[in-house]
Structures are given as C-alpha cells and as structure tokens.
Symmetry: C2
Subunit: 237 residues, 2 copies
Amino acid sequence: MEVKYKTIYQTLKDQIFSGTYPTNARIPDELSLCKEFDASRMTVKKALDLLVQEGIIYRRQGQGTFVLPYEEQDNLINIQESKLEGFTRSSRFRGAAKKYSFDLEFADETVARALDIPVGDPVYHIERIRYYHDKPYVWELTYMSPSQIPGVTDEVLNASIYQHIEKTLGLRIHSSKRILRAQPSTPKDQELLGLRPDEPVLEVEQIAYLDTGAPFEYSFSRHRYDRFKFSAFALRQ
Amino acid sequence: MEVKYKTIYQTLKDQIFSGTYPTNARIPDELSLCKEFDASRMTVKKALDLLVQEGIIYRRQGQGTFVLPYEEQDNLINIQESKLEGFTRSSRFRGAAKKYSFDLEFADETVARALDIPVGDPVYHIERIRYYHDKPYVWELTYMSPSQIPGVTDEVLNASIYQHIEKTLGLRIHSSKRILRAQPSTPKDQELLGLRPDEPVLEVEQIAYLDTGAPFEYSFSRHRYDRFKFSAFALRQ
DNA sequence: CAGTGGTCTAGACCACAAT
DNA sequence: TTGTGGTCTAGACCACTGT
C-alpha cells in the first residue's frame, strides 16, 4: 500500500466493513476526503472508483457517495469476481488439498491448443482433490508445459506452484481467462466427489497467461454443484 | 459518446477489433495518443484503463501498451462479464422469447426476502422460454413487486420491461447481483428445455436494484448446460 | 442557489525497461 | 540515457440534485 490511492481505498474499505460507514450511509464528499487524506481530488476519485468497481459503494452526481448493502456469508464457497482481487482471491481459497496424481504426458489436441504448443509435446499433468470441512468439493486437472515452467516437482506442488513460477523462475503471471459451465457428472466425478449419477458438476476451465502473453497453465476444476457458487456484480451504465 | 475519454476508448476498441492494431501489437504511447486525440494524458489514461479492465489491452511500465489475443466465437451463448457492459450485454442478448405464463401470486419467503417486501404481498410472476436457432436454451422465472413496478401488462412484456421501468415509470436501474450454480434438472426443466434426466442446468439467480437501493426484480434463469457458458477475465494484481 | 460528483487540463516527479 | 507507463497535483468548468 505504498501508493496513496490504494491506501485511501483500503482505509475506506476497512471503515465500511468495520461499520464506520454502515450500509446505505453516505460517506464524506470528495473535498472532505481530500483534506482527510491530504490528497488531490483525482487521487481520491481513483480510490473511490476502485470501490465502485467492486460493488462496495455507488456515487450519484449531485447527491453523494453511498455504501451498498453487502452479503452475509453462507456455507457455499463463493468466488467473487472483482477486477482488483479476482485472480488472487480465487486462487487464494484453498482448503486442504490431496495430490491425486502427477505425471508427464503427451499433449493432446485440446491441451496443445490451449497452451499454444505442438500436439505430442510433453506436459505436466497434475490432479488434485480439495476438501472443505473434510469433504471433497473440487477435482482439479492442471496441465503445464515443462518448456515454459521447468522444475515442477512434488515438493514444489506441495508448497506453491505460483511461488515457483514467480520467485524461482522469475516469471510474471499476468492474467487468466475462465469459462464456467454446468456439466453432467462422469463416473469418475461421482467417485471422487461423492456424487450421485444425476448430480452435476460446475466446471471452471481456466487458461492462465504469463506477462509475455504465453499461456502457461490450462486447468479444469470440476466442483460439486452444491458446494460452489460464482457471484458477479454489474453496474448499469 | 459525448465524453472525450469514452470517444477515445471506443475509437481504440474499434481499431483493435478491425485489425488496425492486431493481436500482440503495441499501440501508440500515451503522448502520441494525447496529440492524436487532442487530450491530456489523464484523459487518455482513463480510456486505456477501460480497455485494460475489459481484458482487451495490457500495459507494461517501460515497455508500452499491447493488444491481448481475443477469442473467436463459438456456438455457445457467452455472457461476458465486464464492468463497462456487464449489465446491458447480458440483458441485451435475447433471441426469440415465448411467454410461458404471467400472473399475480403471493410472495413466498424466498421471493419476499429477495425483493425486501412482506411475505404474502402480491408479486408478478413471469415465465419465459427463450430460443436460439429455434431450440429452447433458457427458462426464465421473474418476480417483481407491483408496488414498485406498477402497470406491467402483456404489451409491456412483449415490448421491453426495462423501457417501461426507465421511460414510462421514470425509475433508474442501478445494478444487479448474479449468482451462478450448477443444478440437477427437474422434470419441468427436462420438459421445457428438452433435457434428459441426467442432464443439468446452469442456474443464474439475479437480483436487480433501482438507484434507490431497492431490489425490484428477482429472477432465476435455468440454462441448458450445453448451450450456455459464462466467461470472466481476471488480471493479476 | 449551494453542494455534490464528472470531466479535463498541463504540468510534475517517479519506477521500470531497453539501449 | 531515453522512452515508456504510474502516480499525483491544483486547479478549472460542467452536469445534476435538492433547497
């Protein structure tokens, strides 16, 4: 938080969630915030824009800036999409993970196209099952190319693959694209996640990119339908 | 597009998708764009920030601004979440719709809580089935309170409920929250969408809000699992 | 009218990358 | 060193809202 607008953003966010500015309250106008944080109006605006993007506040010309109602928590795992924290939040939620398999395979056409490598090139293939309250909720299949991400070992996987990529290899993760779909469960889904044949999974297909634009990770996460939801907030324009 | 930064945003976006700046190309630096559009650097930045948010470009300190690869289209209906167009795009995609039922009911507990009205209050209950290439792909159930949104008729529904709300009633739609889940299909899903019993639906639950903060619409859209996907883009921070 | 947010400017200095 | 984007300022004028 070395940057001023992020400090203002975080301070206001903390104040909102700690109840200093409760739901539907009006927060101080921009000029007051400028004085409070010793910042220019553009800087305060930038902080407020972040909060608007996350659906935490909204602003009305001529009236002021107001705190939006926010959600109580429930028992579902909730991936909240937000531009500021999207990538990290979803990869941050983990729960206990069990490595199910880890080997080297030849890339089939789908994997090769996603990772932008030739068909038949070797790829790491990692499968994990993650648990929440001691019950399985997701089966993850991950593919990475050793030519892009070398040195993946059991130890690396047990620690953090992202650490390995960014710290050890000195690469930078840039972005990810995700596609969500409902799917009938396969017999393997049913076995691993404890589903009945008529119970579906929510599949999240993800391609993650390095800052060079190269895709480095292709993954499928097959979630129990009753333990995973995805929420999104959209402002009318 | 009366505003300068939106004009710059739209012009660059058009140029990118028309091939003036192809995938991975570097677009002109900020000072050049300032001259080209006769704008200050802050204004150009604001336009570029929008494109970054939508996952169209990315920027690298010391290097420049680059066009990200973008998706080819497939046959699935694709709801792209983006802060700029999120609300409208998804309510813009329609296809032919058939009204399945339209009546007045007493709000049950779920609907009452979502719409923030007392249990037992009357609510409009609208069901529609939407078609894409002459085949059903979604069954929509919508609840609205006549005390908030009066005057809903067959004619209004056949035209546009959003027009009615904003033009006729003079209310302003502010935002929406959506939750996505996979669900087993019910016998009714199977009948309406032509699914087998083992085939699931992707359910999108949505609450839409007026600018007063009041929820005015509660809806469930149950999509055929094989004709709907939801995609999201996340930047690493 | 006064108070609010929305846009825009013309600079400034900094951080980072390539040369 | 040069060129790039990142942050920040101290104003200005405009658009909208409520009084």
